[in-house]
Symmetry: C2
Subunit: 215 residues, 2 copies
């Protein structure tokens, strides 16, 4: 297993046994989502913005309107922190103190750079495919004017860490005798029934990319 | 409707019609979750950490181990950005360019202060009740040694904004004639079947707080 370098920045301080630094673990968490929270600082003021992403190798592609605050600031090569969190359930202990959550999170550090030309189009496809596999080829491709209105950034991962909690609660020994229910309430994200655009052209079938979501 | 003050920091730059600054809208987004992404900067390096929270009025309570990096840094009164995002669905347009997501997000700015004594206990209860209503009174209350190991912070909201997208895709006029399926694939978080702790004392019923999740 290949690890990202570990130092003060990405070391899991609190409950270190939940931490991991290997690319396999981190990539699995990144690949199971397409929505991250991106943090950056402007004049000392932090911003945390939800945005979509796509991973390729040790890089993450991000996109946005060329005019957006996030894109304008990030392109200046400032350090960013990109975090992806899967909430997997509530962990109910007998004591209030030992309540917890089951989760998988990845925290990624690096700087982002604007990409152009072929890589810009490839970056958009990587993001699109991470969100919904197969949708890119179903869609009408971007026109030059749309490409101009869009900024694509590549974040090369310098460091990263994962933090994972699974399993039942852990209580203090003497609390196991209490008449308090304890356990896990699992949670997950599910897709609902697709809702066709009211303006959908007559006779157009549901997209294959959407059909595959049920598989 | 009471608005938070608007300036450069919290103004929704990109697609301003999706932005809102009134407390009713922002609080509804905050109250529909208990998991935020908290951003802060240490020596210019941003960190984005997933953590639970509870809201009361114009303040948000946060907690963590007294030894955690987040708690130690935040207590120094540094500016933070707290973001809550509900992902409500994929918005599939005919053009790749007009693909989007339905979501509700709130971005909150302020500084956090450590609280002690009665407010510290109250803060923990507010967080607990936001995560799972009724669980606080079901649980074994915190002991002094547990309170000492825990830091509770109150983040007074200085400014905030909400950003919301709902509804079907919007495509360019000429694309509506394309034979491409378009619409929304809704998404939501659901609870699974509660899993009792393997060490649960015999004869203990499922907690009422958990039973109510299905209502």
């Amino acid at each position: 297993m290949e690890n990202y370098p570990i130092d003060k920045r990405n070391k899991v301080v609190r409950i270190p046994k939940r931490g991991a630094y290997d690319k396999e673990t981190i990539n699995a968490i990144l690949d199971a989502s397409f929505l991250c929270h991106l943090g950056f600082s402007v004049n000392g003021q932090p911003y945390v913005i939800p945005t979509s992403y796509g991973r390729k190798g040790d890089s993450i592609y991000l996109h946005g309107a060329s005019t957006s605050r996030m894109m304008v600031n990030l392109d200046e090569g400032i350090p960013v922190c990109l975090t992806v969190t899967h909430f997997d359930g509530l962990v109910l202990a007998r004591s209030a103190f030992h309540h917890s959550m089951n989760y998988r999170s990845a925290v990624v550090f690096g700087t982002a750079k604007k990409v152009e030309g072929e890589e810009k189009m490839e970056g958009l496809k990587i993001i699109s495919e991470q969100i919904l596999e197969g949708r890119w080829d179903e869609s009408r491709a971007p026109k030059p004017i749309e490409m101009k209105a869009t900024t694509v950034l590549r974040l090369d991962i310098d460091q990263a860490s994962a933090k994972i909690r699974t399993g039942p609660p852990g209580d203090d020994k003497e609390d196991y005798e209490l008449d308090i229910w304890a356990g896990v309430v699992p949670a997950k994200m599910v897709w609902g029934e697709p809702e066709a655009d009211p303006l959908l052209k007559e006779g157009v079938d549901l997209a294959n990319s959407v059909k595959r979501l049920d598989e």
